[in-house]
């Protein structure tokens, strides 16, 4: 079935602040939906958007699909129940850095560990927006906020590192303003069987403006980020003259043509590599030492929890000795009173 972008826009007024990065992500997701339906032969009624609490968690109201706005931190658990109960549905979890990594941290890692086939879009603005500006688990060390007037004294999480720690099978990253890249990542995420986490670096114009600006700003973005593509050499830069090599157990940035470096010396991205070692290094790259990695960083195949459960049930039913509750009640030790 062919769909247009408008088929996925609900009649509800979008109530995010003007200039909020969430608008761009909504647009990217709505644009990706018709493409996903076409490429995977999905119909619209199979989509469920589920969220927790926070600015980004209003997202399901703006999609003309089935939607469930849950409670703080629990979207991963609600999404897990949906997918295990009905594996035919395509579940999209919308969450933020507070929702997924603070109050919902436990559900986040366990959904990933189980490899539930859901798509998690993690809106990371490094701040609590809906409660008006307190630090989050991804706020930079020393960040001054309403609850850290002297600066935070705790290290932030890197969401991708948590995904790898939980033996995640898919991790991708984009920036709110990268509408086309985000759209492509949504399609890749949909195609992945298993928990697909897409970290969206998003700007909160009111409480944490320009938090990602040093590499996300349009003028510098090409030189300070790298879009990884599976099977392609790691090249970046406005002039496509920079690349990444592996030397002294580290990833290093080099300039092609300098010091005898040519394109064939560069690392070639392999998102399908089971060993998470290099993926971990790519996820950890920070400007100014290295460009920030975008694109699909990891995408490996593994069995999903939901399919394993479904198969156990199918198998048990095929070999069932007991086929009804009446039979069950009469199984085992019974006695007749005459």
């Amino acid at each position: 079935m062919k769909y247009s972008v408008d088929d996925f826009k609900s009649d509800q007024e979008v109530k995010w602040c003007p200039g909020c990065g969430d608008h761009a992500i909504l647009a990217s997701v709505q644009r990706a939906m018709p493409q996903i339906c076409e490429e995977l032969d999905y119909t619209k009624e199979r989509f469920v958007f589920v969220s927790g609490i926070g600015c980004s968690s209003r997202f399901p109201y703006y999609m003309d699909t089935f939607g469930f706005h849950g409670i703080h931190g629990r979207a991963a658990a609600i999404a897990t129940g949906m997918k295990v109960a009905n594996p035919r549905l395509t579940i999209w979890q919308i969450t933020g850095d507070g929702d997924a990594l603070a109050i919902g941290g436990n559900h986040f890692i366990h959904a990933i560990r189980r490899n539930i086939d859901i798509n998690m879009i993690l809106f990371n603005n490094q701040i609590y927006g809906l409660t008006k500006g307190q630090y989050s688990p991804t706020s930079k060390l020393g960040k001054t906020t309403k609850t850290s007037p002297f600066g935070t004294v705790e290290h932030p999480f890197n969401p991708g590192a948590l995904v790898l720690g939980a033996r995640g099978t898919f991790f991708a990253r984009s920036i709110d303003v990268e509408i086309k890249l985000t759209q492509d990542l949504m399609v890749e995420s949909a195609k992945h069987n298993g928990t697909a986490v897409v970290e969206m670096l998003v700007n909160c114009i009111i409480f944490n403006d320009r938090t990602h600006a040093e590499f996300a700003e349009k003028l510098v973005r090409a030189d300070r980020t790298i879009i990884l593509k599976d099977g392609e050499p790691m090249i970046y830069g406005k002039n496509r003259d920079k690349g990444l090599i592996f030397e002294d157990n580290k990833i290093k940035s080099v300039t092609i043509g300098e010091k005898g470096i040519s394109e064939k010396d560069l690392l070639v991205h392999n998102a399908k590599e089971e060993n998470p070692g290099l993926h971990s290094m790519l996820i950890d790259m920070k400007w100014p030492e290295l460009p920030v990695a975008l694109g699909v960083i990891r995408s490996v195949e593994d069995k999903t929890y939901n399919n394993n459960v479904r198969d156990q049930v199918i198998n048990a039913r095929e070999h069932a000795q007991i086929k009804s509750v009446d039979e069950l009640l009469r199984s085992g030790a019974t006695w007749e009173v005459k």
Binding site: R46, T65, G67, T80, G81, R88, L89, N106, V325, W335
Partner: protein, 611 residues
Amino acid sequence: MSHQVIDSKEAVIRFAGDSGDGMQLIGTLFADASALFGNDISTFPDYPSEIRAPQGTIAGVSGFQVNIGSGSVRTPGDFCDVLVAMNPAALKSNVKWAKPTATVIIDSDTINEKGLSRAGFKSDDIVEELNIGHLNVVFAPITTLTKESLKDCGIDSKAVLRSKNIFTLGICYYLFNRSSDSTIEYIDNKFKKLPQIAAANKKALRDGINYAANIQAIQNTYRVAPAIVEKGLYRYINGNQAVAWGLLAASEKSGLQLFCGSYPITPATSILEELSIRKDLGVKTLQCEDEIAGICTAIGAAYTGSLAVTTTSGPGLSLKSEALGLAMITELPLVLVDVQRAGPSTGIPTKTEQTDLNQALYGRNGEAPIAIIAAHSPSHCFDAAFYAAKYAVEHMMPVILLSEGFLGNGSEPWKIPSLSNYPDITPPIIEESEESPFQPYKRDPETLARKWALPGTVGLEHRVGGLEKNNNGSVSSDPLVHERMVKERAEKVARLSNYIPNQEVIGSESGELLVVGWGGTYGHLYTAVERLQNEGHSVSLAHFDYIFPLPKNSEELFGNFKKILVCELNSGHFVNYLRGEFPQFSYLQYNKIQGQPFIVQELVEAVEALL
């Protein structure tokens, strides 16, 4: 000493030993044998929360009490006729449950310096120290006899010692003139692949029986005739199994897949275990990362069209509170099973109580009334779970089913019902909408239930969630919309009273005193009231299964008695709730908060004091 056979209507046996001694097992095997013989039975496991507390100490003592009768048995019995104590600690902590005429069997090999000091005895004369000279104490060298019995079986000494309980069971079979056939069948089945162990256990059982027959120390043996019960096929069932099976029955009747999201917690865990075996009946179970995920996965499953269940005990109910509110405001069917235990906080996890009622009634933020049903006996857990599921699904709302550790672990014979005698369950699932766009909170005029529009259904896309909404499903913070929706949701729960049965009274419909109870105290209250009625007192019993809403005739019924005495295993949750519901009556109360069930005698005395 002359041996006497006592014909008895009822006999109670209590097994007590270290938690590693296998008391729960032989208690169950003894109950099985008695049930197969045709006795009515009721059992009560009384065990510590530590899996293996230090050997030989009071803290490590695990008990299992069985009441067998030739008439209706409704409680595990107040005091026992036979007490089996596998060590001094077991004797010391359990002798208070022995009748003055009881026979006590103790493993005399354990009465040594170590055993005595661990149990805190000051001397080696335990009879004197416990002041139990009036009891028939049989000192049986069970450890030595078991070793001797199995010395040529070719099994190692650890396995030999593990068979002590089976030897002891043999002694008990002699005492109660029981057939050991069902136990032999159990042993053969359990050790199918270990024929040596099977042979050893069977020998220990036989030698236990023979030993008891040969010694002269046993003064009394007991004969309890089969009970005269309704014809039909029977089985033995515990409350947690009955909950699981009742939910399975509801799944079959409704045509909905059963989904259980849960987290292990004593004493509810075996419901999850039982459901996880039943993949052959299409059940999906999810052992979650925590209690909150247990209920949240169930809510997700409910949204997509499953009969969704989450199971827990007290502390878990606390953790699930916020999500219960979500299930309530999204108006999704959900059954929450709370097998209550002694609280607060971790409390005494393995002991029984009725102290979660206030939490079930009031324990949520905002206006969040949730229907509550209570199970009153192990086998009644089946019906209670079935109807909790039926009402949840048909009325599109969460229902809390309150069970108790006493019911979950206790067991009794059960006349197996046929599912054809249970009503249909009709989920309000819709395939298409009458209006466009679909209005998720449009209500049925009778029940006030909304329709269930499942993801995957063309044209029914809609959003629900924890934010207040208008009936058309759009988010609203309009003050009047909020008030209307709050009232509609409350009215929906209240209207359940149009669908539940009227409250029955055991005894006269009017009189001097009405005993009121709810939940797992039924057997004790029934037995006490029956005894009082036989003594000629004007006492009746109203035992409530439907807590919220209450049956419609409750008010009228209370008006027919001069006095009302509400008995419960808490500080007065139900009585205070009744005071709020029907303030025109005055209520007396009898409460016990010891982590133990009522004793029939104390109830009889409490009522007599008021007559």
